[in-house]
Every structure is written in C-alpha cells, then in structure tokens.
C-alpha cells in the first residue's frame, strides 16, 4: 500500500542485484524523448497528417474530423495517404527536438550512464538520441564523462526487424529499437497493421511451425533480464501493453518482492490514489511500480531520478552462473 509519493523511488533488492550483474535492461519510452523536446505520440501522429495538409492532400475539415482518433489510427491514415499520393512523410523532420526550447540537453547523457548496469538498451522510440549521436562530451569536465563518451561512441544500433532476435540480446552496448528507427523509414512500426504484423503469435501447429523471432526475443528478454521501463506515461501505455502482453509470462504474483521488472512513473502528491491503482495494474503484469514525485520539477523530476539511480546502484560484472542460467532459459522446458 502506497502511503506517499517519495521524491526518489525505493529501490527493490532485486533491482540492485540485477544492476550489479549487468542484467538490467533500460527500456526507454517516449517520455524520455519528450523531456528532450521531441513530440509526444499524439503530436507525432498529428504532424504526420499535417504533412498532407501542407501538401494540399488533406484539407483542414478532414484533418479536424480525424483529429479525435487514436494516434495509431491517425498514423495508419497518414501511411495510407503516403501510398495514395506517392509522397513520403519527412519523419526525420517531425522527429527532431524542439530547437527553440533546447531543453534538458543532458537527459540522454544521464540515461546512457545506465549502461554501467546493462549490456543492452531497448527503446520503442524512433529517434536517434540513444544511437551514439550525442554531441561529444568535453573531456575537461570529468573522468566520469570521459567514460560516458566512450559508451556513446561504441553503441551498436539495431533496428531492422530481422536483427531483433535473441542473438542480439547479449550484444555489448547494443541499442535495440524494437519499433524501428527514423534512420530507416521502412523499419518503423507505425500503423495498426505494422503492430499486428510485428506481434503476431508463434504458429506452433501444422506442418511447418512458424516462430515469430521478435516475440521470442521479447519473451527471452523478460525471462532472463530485469527490465526497467523509463519514460512510459499514461500516453504510452498502449505501446507498453503490446510489449508486455506478448513478452511477460503471466503469473499470479501478489507480492511485488518477486517481481523482476520495474517501471519508473511520476505522480503528483494528489495523485496518490492513481498511483495506488497504477501499482495494482502493473502488479497484474508482473511489474513493480517505482513511483517518484513530480511535485517539485514536474516531468523533469525523471532526470533527477535517473541521476539518483546512477548514484545508488552498484555496477558489477556479468556472472558466469547468471549466464549459465540464461542458457538454461533458452532451451524449451523439460517435459
């Protein structure tokens, strides 16, 4: 039972252990990019439609009629229009930080520092903030930033569907865009049909059983690693559900000490009840809610929380025994 929203979340023991064994996998959502000035999911969909308004292929009345639909449906419309008019939406332009605000320039620097507890980052974002494209860190700042600079430079970008499989789960300093990257328009999962295609279930029967390697990847991720969702607010829950629904094996766990996955989520003090409900909701998914207070800094508190995590968690090395256990998880269970 939550009694108050703390400034920093309490860190569960399993999260400490996962970090110390480099088993933690930061799972980055749009909330982080939004802090950096990127459009949110809704705005991203609207901007995609506006592209056709600007091109004169969609009038304002039409735009207004569909503006109330969900972002995913709007994106489906936009992609249909692309095909109909043979025009390509400039997603790179849409997906650029708001240069006027130039806010929270360092947010990804702090996020990337989480690599000390992890081998792999996963993101549902299309932007390239995690892809080693951060401006070089001035070497004179401190030694800590020097090491950060190295991490950024050696990041390996994975976004093609065929590359997203378990073999890359163990790749060092990999950033996996599970919904594609803006650097390759064809890799981006945008429409409902894209989602259905990516998340279809394995076909186990029939003459030729067909495996969805992407799902296997997710299943293995949640089975053998400890995932920390960062930047998934209420607006991104739909995307999160896709991931969690397919990835996490459902178990009836009521005691959150046994959870292996976590989500950072900010609340204002007056949202205590909401936080309690969200806690129950995530618990049903096998995820522990790590609530933190938005009272002082609003969503920018997330940056502070990430800094806090970087300070409190203890880095370590991958343990051979952990890797052996992971190997066991790769085999089908003994029947």
């Amino acid at each position: 039972m939550l009694e108050k929203i703390p400034k920093y979340p309490d860190i569960p023991e399993n999260l400490h252990i996962a970090a110390s064994q480099k088993k933690l996998v930061p799972f980055i959502g749009a909330g982080v990019s939004r802090l950096r000035g990127y459009p949110d999911w809704k705005k991203f969909a609207d901007e995609a439609l506006r592209f056709f308004v600007a091109e004169g292929k969609l009038n304002h009345a039409q735009f207004d009629q569909i503006s109330g639909l969900s972002p995913r449906v709007k994106l489906s419309f936009a992609v249909n229009l692309e095909e109909r008019y043979n025009l390509l939406i400039d997603f790179k332009k849409i997906l650029s930080p708001n240069s006027e605000k130039n806010q929270n320039k360092d947010v990804y620097r702090h996020v990337l520092r989480l690599f000390q507890f992890s081998k792999t980052f996963i993101t549902t974002n299309y932007d390239e903030e995690l892809d080693g494209q951060l401006p070089p860190v001035p070497p004179q700042i401190n030694e800590e930033n020097e090491s950060l600079s190295k991490i950024a430079q050696s990041t390996t970008l994975i976004y093609q569907r065929n590359d997203i499989d378990v073999s890359n789960l163990d790749r060092k300093n990999a950033v996996i865009h599970i919904h594609g990257s803006v650097c390759d328009r064809t890799s981006m999962v945008l429409t409902t049909s894209d989602y259905l295609d990516r998340y279809y279930g394995h076909q186990v029967g029939g003459l030729e059983p067909r495996e969805n390697k992407f799902l296997t990847f997710l299943e293995q991720l949640f089975k053998s690693r400890n995932v920390l969702f960062i930047g998934y607010g209420s607006d991104e829950l739909e995307i999160l559900e896709y991931v969690v629904e397919k990835g996490i094996e459902k178990r009836l766990i009521t005691d959150d000490r046994y959870n292996r996955h976590y989500i950072l989520h900010g609340f204002f003090t007056h949202q205590l009840e909401l936080a309690q409900s969200m806690k129950s909701y995530f618990q049903s998914l096998g995820i522990s809610l790590l609530p933190f207070s938005l009272d002082e800094l609003g969503w920018e508190s997330l940056i502070d929380v990430i800094k806090h995590l970087n300070g409190i968690l203890q880095p370590g090395r991958r343990l051979a025994l952990a890797e052996y256990r992971e190997m066991a998880n790769l085999l089908p269970s003994t029947e």
Binding site: H16, L319, E323
Partner: protein, 937 residues
C-alpha cells in the same frame, strides 16, 4: 525426424561457443532434456565446432560433449538413422586420429571410454573394420585400464557377437585380439627375463570379458578365438622360454597357480576353455583343429592339449598314441601328463599302456646333472612317472615301480609328484604343547615346574613352542591365581621363560583388577609371596652371571624377567588407590636399587629418546624408581605431613644416577625430564640446584634426552621459572632438536607462560622469534593459542592473546615477504576477538588475504562476529572473495556465512552472489545451488 531449431535454441548453441565452461554447461543442460530429441541440435553443434578440439590447445574433447554424442548415437540406432550415425562416427574417427594426445593423456580415459561406448551404440552397419582398429588407442591408457574394456565388452563386442554374418564376427575377433593385447611394464620378472607382460586391459575386466564372451566365440568362431589365444601365449612364451610351469604350474584351476600371473592365466584359461567348449559344441571340428595343434612345439600349448585330452578323453583318446613318446615326458609336461596318466591309464588300451611304459623306459638321462648322478636322477624321474600308473592294472609298471622304490639311493617319492616344485604355506598358530587344564592339574600335584622345564622345543616354526607354553601358563594363572601364588616359590627353579610367565601373569591380573575394581585374589598375601619370590630370584648371583644372548625364538630371557619385575613394581606404586601395602616399600626399594646396580645403561642416545627410555630393561627399573619414590613421599605426606625423610633416603640413589648422566645413562636423563614436575614436588630446592645437571650444557645428548622427556611432563610455572632463571630454556630454544614434537612442546610452554603472564612480547624468547624471523616457531605458538580456544578464559588471558595476535600480524605486514602460513594460522586467533574495532579490522583484512586450507575456523569466527559487525565482515568478505577459494566447505561454514551476508542487505546479497559465482568457477561443490537460492530474480 529432426525439427528446426528455434531462435532461442540457436542462441543457446551460440552461447556454448563462448568458452569451454559454456560448452560444458551447455552439454550438461542438454543432457537434462528429453533424450529422444537431442539429435536436433547435432548439426548446429557440429557446425559451431563444439565437437572439435580447440586447435590442440585444449585437446580434451569435453566429456559432456561425448556423453551427448553417446545419447545421440542411441537415437540414431533406435531410428536406424545411418546418416546421423555416420556423422557421429566421423567425429569419433577424427578425434581418435588425433588420439596420439589421447594415448598420452592420463586424464582423458573418460573420453576413451565414451568413444568405446559410442561405437557400441550406433547401428552396426555404420561401423567398419577400420573403426575397430581405433580400439587400441582407447585401451592404451595408463589411468584406467578397465572401464573402457567394459564398455567394449558390453557394447560393440556383444553386438557383433550377436550377429551371424561374416563381417561382424570378424570384427568381434579383431576386438578380442585388441583386448588381449599385451605390453611390457618394463620390469623384469621371474621366468620372463627382461619382458614382464601386462595386458592392456586390466586383469579383472579382461577376465570378465573373456568369461562373458568365450561361449559365444566358441559357438560362432572357435578356431579364430583359439588362434588369438595361441598368438598371445606365444608372445609370452617364445620358443627359447619353455619352462611355463614357473608361471602356470597347472592348466586346470589349482591352488598351485599364481593369481598374480595375470596375462598367462587369462590366455591359458582362454585357450583351455575355447578348446574344451569346442569339443563339447562341435567335436568333429575341434578334433581336426586339436589334431593339428598337438604338433605345436610350444610347451604351454602342448600342456593345454594334454589337459584337453585328459578332460575329453572319450572324444580325443585316439590322439594319445600319436603323441606318446619320450619327448612327451619332458619336464615341462609333468603336471598335465601325470594327471592324464593318473586318471586315464586304467581306461587306456594295451597298446597305449605299452607305449606309455616304453616312453618312460626310453627317457634320456638328464644331461643337466653331473655324469655320475645322471642314472640316479633318471631312475628317480622314471619312478616319479610310474607313480602315476602304479597300481592301475599293469603288472610291468607295478613291478618296475616296486623295484625302483626299493632302491634307497633314489630317495623318497615327492608328496606332490605331479609338480616339480610345490609351494605350501600355512599359518603358524604357535601351538602350545599342553593345555591350561593340564597345567592346572600339574600345579596341583606339584609337578608343574618339572613338566614345564622338561618341555623341549623341536620345531620353532611349526611348534609347539616355549613361547606358546608361556602364554598357556599366563592363562592358567588367570584361571586359578590362588593356586599359583601358593606354588610361586617353586618357580625359582623354573626356566626363565616360565619365571617371566608367572610374573607377567600376576602383573596382568593386577591390571585387570585395577580396571574392573573387582577383587580377584588376596593381594596382601600375594604381594608378600611375590616379594619373597623376587628376593629369592634376584639375590641369586647365578641369575646375574647368566649370559643373555638374543635368540631367534620368542622365548623370554633373563632380561625380560627383570623387566617384568620392574614393570610390576612400577604398577604396584603408580596409583595410591591400587598399590601394594606401604609396609612393603622398603623391600621394593632394596629390589630397585639392586636392579639399578646390576643392569648397565644402554649405550647411546638414539632417535626418539622417550621411545628408548621406556623400552630397555633399565628404563623399566628407572620408571619403577620414580614411581616408588613418589609413592613413598605421598605415603609419608599422609602420615606426617612431609616427606623429607623419604627423600633423604632416596636422594643418594637419584644423585648417583644423575652423576652417570654424562654421555651415558640416557634413560635416566629422559625420565628425569619427563618427571620434572614430580621432582619439583619431591624437593624443589634440590631440583633448582640440580636442574643444570638434568639438562647439562656440556653433555648435549643427555640434555636433548631430558628435553624430549620434558614433552611428557605436566606444565608447571615453577619449573618454567627455574628453566628461565637457569638459562636452560633459552639454550634449549637455540638447540637443533631433531624431534619436532619436542621442539613444538617447548614453544608451546613459552606460549603457555605468556598466557600465565610469565612471558611478554618484549622478553628475549619472543624477541628472538621475531628478530630471527622464526615463522615456523611463531606458527607453533599461534597454532597452540588457537587450539586452546573455547576455554573459559579470563579477560586478561584473552587480552594477552589478542596482543600477541596484533603484534604478530603487524610484524607480518611489515615483512618484505608476507609469511602466508603464519598469517593463515593467525587467522584462527580471531576466535578471541569480541568486537571489531578499526585496528582489528585492519588486521583481519590482512589475515583474510592469506587464508589457507584451514580457513574454515576463520570463517566460523566471521559468522559469529557478523551479528554485531556486519559492515566490517562485509569488507573482510570482499577480500576473501578475491583470494579464498577452498576446495571443500567444511561443515558448510562458508555457505552459512554467505547466506547470512545475503540476508543482511542488498549490498550484502550482491557481494554474496559475486563470491558464490567465483567459488563456483573454482568448482566448490554446492555453489550453483546456492546461487539459484540467492539469485531468484
């Protein structure tokens, strides 16, 4: 049918390529899976090189990989999947070709065993004759010469023999050939010259293999099997070595055969059994073969043929006539031919009988004897042969035998005429000539001593012996001690062994009564009579004039009588609650002084002074002297409250003995050292004045004996102080004492004195140990202080131990080279720490870095201290996790500590898991399970 692998499974195989540990773990995990689907991984595993050796850097193909291959081989056989089996066999072939390594490797026997298993599991159609030629490289392994053969026997050999076609049967023969291969172990053995054969397969397993398969070989391919055994026998018995009886006295199972002659036994029995079974199975074919074989000139083979002829006379008797000749009667064939004649002569035809007699008659004179003996020995030989057929219905033979028997020059017939030499052994029960009952009857009718004295020992090996009769006498004394005490005086006339017997018998009774606390006889009366007997015996000058020469028999001599008396006198004073009447003390004193006067000290000081001091006769007397004096003092103390008069009377004897301790009388030196505390009780002033004489500087051997004796003395502050004051201890510590135990005891006394407060770190003893870097000696002190832990010490004692610990650890730390063993020993003193302050933590961290195999005591203390000092212990465990990886976790102490740490805090759990991971990598058992328990996420 194989199924496609999922991406998870492909990744699993990929992970196996990360290193040998990963590969091993992978194969282990696979072995836990359903065995009937294991083959689906095969192609990818092979593609990833997981059945290859690691560029010869890591040449041992993982056993787990081979276990996997064996499991897949089973699947291939079940499905008759020749393609899969072929791939497996290709691996076996390639790896065995690289097998030069395997042959050399002593620890790769398991790989050989698995190769052998696999070849027995795959469908037989995928195994070819070349594969069978791999077997020698698998068998030629020094480390295990048995289990691979067992696999072959139960696998490929059984399978090939189950078939009826030509090809598998040929394979079976070739396997038998390889399994019976012999090599030389490089040692010369009797009968072998330079070549001592050893089978490549361990004898036990070879015997199992042969016993199991010979019947089938006979059924399917008897001739080839026989040829293999013949070939092996000829390897051992080449033509120039024709005296096979040395290695195999009898072809049949016989007690004369030598169980240690393994290769010979296996091959003789192999050929014997093949021929024998063959005759039963297919007499006609066997006859044809044996008919040819009987002309073989190899002695051992001819013997086996004769044996077969004898055992299957009905089927083979017609061969006899073509075999019988003087040549057949050569010495080598003695046993088998003798047995044949003994058994079958009565069944022989007249022609066969006549031919037999002719052959004996025509025996050549043995040319290995000198000329004038040749005729005699020929007759002897002929008589020997005739003994086999005499009385079996042939008059000529009987007459000739009688004639030769009548010739006294020939000598008696051997009791074992079918053997040229016969080995017999028997346990020597050392039988006594008379029973206890007989001795009791003679004791009653007063003839016992006479009967005993009249017994003469004629055969000391087989008995009856005097030694055994003495034992019977002791038993008789125990049966009726009262009877024997009444006639003890008569034993003055008895021979020494029986005098020894009666003294020893009563001494044993005395000890029995002490232990059982039940009255056996009236000892008041008995001691009087015993003293009378001792007086009478020892006062006789003839007794002392007797020359004692140590003989080969075990019969007690005069010195053992004296030793028995001294031991008995000692036993009579050792315990106040079980001692002879004090009124007899003066009589005993006279006896003891007499014995001291009569018996000369031993010549030199040897290796172990105490061992020497308690064994010679004089040492027994000196023991009795000390025991007697102490008893007399105690009696006097009880009566008058002091014992000066007793000591005044005894002192001259002690001083006289001490006076002899100048390069001699080492028994006294040793026992004086052992009784230092007792001497302090008797007269500490005297001891103070004479202690230098007990540990004389100028007589090093006497001093060493006394020091070694001191090992057995009770520790005493008074004595220790005397030794310090007189400088004896400092001198002793610098002496080169060979007896390490004695040296250790001296150091332990120093440690004890330190505990008492009589020593300090600044005192010369400790100063010297540190200054001269006597790490071994310091370790003795540390070990001692560690070993007495758990006692109810006063705070000042604990304070002193901790002070020593602190000083020693700091000293070690300041040394250029850390004395690891000493630091490991010092870790045990952690048991005296009640808390961990800053200094203690610093020192604990130092000793933790040098923890040795006995670190489990330290771990136990860390667990104790963890309750109040968790953070400090966590820091120490940090150090341990870098250096301490025991091979065995005594009483699960380390596991228990790790569990405690893990429960303490997330940081504790992280450290615990990291340590467990390292321990698992160093193969400490139980760590994988502990990891699973701790790391449930």
């Amino acid at each position: 049918m194989t199924t496609a692998l999922t991406s998870n499974e492909r990744e699993f195989v990929d992970r196996m390529t990360k290193g040998s540990e990963y590969a091993t773990t992978g194969f282990q995990l696979l072995s836990e899976r359903r065995s009937d689907i294991l083959d689906k991984y095969f192609d990818l595993l092979q593609e990833k090189g997981l059945f290859a050796t690691n560029n010869n850097q890591e040449p041992i193909l993982s056993w787990h990989a081979l276990e996997y291959l064996a499991a897949v081989a089973k699947i291939a056989d079940k499905r008759n999947d020749e393609c899969l089996a072929g791939k497996i066999m290709d691996i076996v072939r390639t790896r065995s070709d690289e097998g030069n390594y395997i042959i050399r490797s002593s620890d790769n026997h398991h790989a050989c065993l698995l190769f052998a298993r696999i070849i027995g599991l795959v469908p037989l159609s995928t195994v070819n004759m070349d594969d069978i030629e791999l077997i020698p490289s698998w068998l030629n392994n020094e480390f295990d010469r048995g289990h691979t053969a067992k696999e072959i026997s139960e696998g490929i050999l059984s399978r090939t023999l189950n078939e009826n076609e030509d090809r598998p049967i040929k394979m079976a023969c070739r396997i038998l050939y390889h399994c019976t291969a012999i090599k030389s172990d490089g040692e010369a053995g009797p009968g072998y010259g330079r070549f001592k054969p050893v089978t490549v397969v361990d004898n036990f397993w070879l015997e199992q293999l042969l016993n199991k398969h010979i019947p089938t070989f006979v059924e399917k391919t008897a001739e080839e099997a026989a040829e293999i055994f013949i070939k092996r026998l000829k390897q051992i018995f080449p033509p120039e070595r024709n005296w096979s009886g040395v290695m195999r006295p009898a072809i049949e199972g016989h007690s004369q055969n030598h169980p240690w002659e393994n290769p010979v036994n296996r091959f003789v029995e192999g050929l014997r059994d093949v021929l024998s079974r063959w005759v039963v199975h297919d007499a006609q074919a066997a006859r044809t073969y044996i008919n040819k074989l009987k002309d073989d000139k190899t002695g051992i083979i001819q013997r086996i043929v004769i044996h077969t002829l004898n055992y299957h006379w009905a089927d083979l008797k017609d061969f006899y006539i073509s075999m019988v000749s003087s040549e057949l009667f050569q010495d080598e064939n003695l046993h088998e031919l003798y047995e044949l004649l003994s058994t079958r002569f009565t069944e022989m035809t007249q022609q066969q009988r006549n031919a037999t007699l002719d052959a004996i008659r025509n025996l050549p004179e043995p040319d290995y004897y000198e000329v004038h003996y040749r005729e005699l020995f020929l007759k002897r030989k002929q008589r020997n042969w005739l003994s086999a057929i005499a009385g079996k219905g042939n008059d000529s033979a009987d007459e000739w035998y009688a004639e030769l028997n009548a010739d006294e020059n020939i000598g008696a017939l051997s009791p074992h005429p079918s053997f040229s030499s016969y080995t017999a052994s028997w346990w020597v029960p050392d039988p006594a000539p008379y029973t206890v009952q007989e001795l009791l009857i003679w004791a009653k009718n007063d003839t016992l001593v006479e009967m005993l004295n009249n017994f003469e020992e004629t055969d000391s090996r087989r008995g009856p012996t005097i030694h055994a009769l003495v034992g019977t006498l002791v038993e008789a004394i125990k049966e009726d001690p009262q009877l024997f005490i009444s006639i003890i005086a008569k034993f003055v006339r008895a021979r020494r062994p029986y005098q020894y017997g009666i003294v020893n018998g009563f001494n044993q009774l005395w000890e029995v009564e002490k232990d059982s606390r039940t009255k056996i006889i009236d000892w008041l009366d008995a001691w009087e009579k015993l003293f009378d007997f001792f007086d009478q015996l020892l006062s006789n000058e003839d007794f002392w004039r007797e020359t004692v020469t140590p003989g080969p028999d075990l019969a007690p001599d005069r010195d053992r009588v004296v030793a028995a008396i001294a031991r008995f006198l000692h036993a009579g004073t050792h315990e106040d609650s079980h001692s002879y009447p004090s009124a007899l003390l003066p009589r005993a004193w006279k006896l003891i002084t007499l014995l001291l006067e009569k018996i000369e000290p031993e010549a030199g000081a040897g290796g172990n002074a105490m061992y020497q001091a308690i064994n010679p006769t004089r040492a027994k007397v000196i023991e009795a002297l000390f025991s007697h004096t102490l008893r007399a003092c105690r009696v006097s103390d009880k009566v008058s409250g002091e014992h000066s008069a007793v000591w005044t009377a005894a002192r001259p004897t002690f001083e006289k003995e001490l006076g002899k301790c100048k390069g001699a009388n080492f028994e006294f030196s040793t026992l004086a050292g052992a009784c230092l505390t007792n001497l302090a009780y008797i007269d500490h002033e005297w001891l103070r004045e004479n202690i230098q004489r007990i540990f004389p500087e100028e007589y090093r051997d006497n001093c060493i004996c006394a020091l070694e004796g001191m090992v057995h003395a009770t520790a005493s502050r008074l004595v220790y102080t005397m030794m310090i004051e007189t400088g004896i201890l400092d001198r002793a510590l610098q002496m080169d004492i060979k007896n390490q135990h004695a040296k250790d005891i001296l150091l332990q006394r120093v440690a004890l004195a330190y505990l008492w407060g009589d020593e300090a770190i600044e005192n010369p003893r400790f100063k010297r140990l540190f200054e001269l870097r006597c790490c071994d000696d310091l370790q003795v002190v540390s070990d001692y202080l560690g070993s007495i832990g758990g006692q109810d010490f006063k705070p000042e004692h604990i304070e002193r131990i901790v002070e020593f610990w602190s000083h020693a650890v700091d000293w070690c730390q300041s040394s250029d080279e850390s004395p690891t063993k000493l630091l490991s020993s010092l870790s045990e003193l952690a048991c005296y720490l009640e808390a961990i302050d800053e200094d203690a933590l610093r020192r604990l961290l130092i000793v933790a870095r040098h923890l040795g195999g006995d670190g489990y005591e330290f771990i136990k203390e860390l667990e104790r201290l963890f309750k109040n000092h968790p953070e400090e212990v966590l820091r120490i465990v940090d150090v341990l996790s870098e250096t301490y990886y025991p091979g065995y976790d005594y009483q699960d102490r380390l596991q228990s500590l790790i569990e405690k740490i893990a429960k303490h805090s997330p940081q504790g759990k992280i450290k615990a898991i990291q340590y467990v991971d390292k321990l698992a990598s160093k193969s400490l058992p139980g760590m994988r399970e502990l990891y699973d328990e701790l790391s449930s996420n």
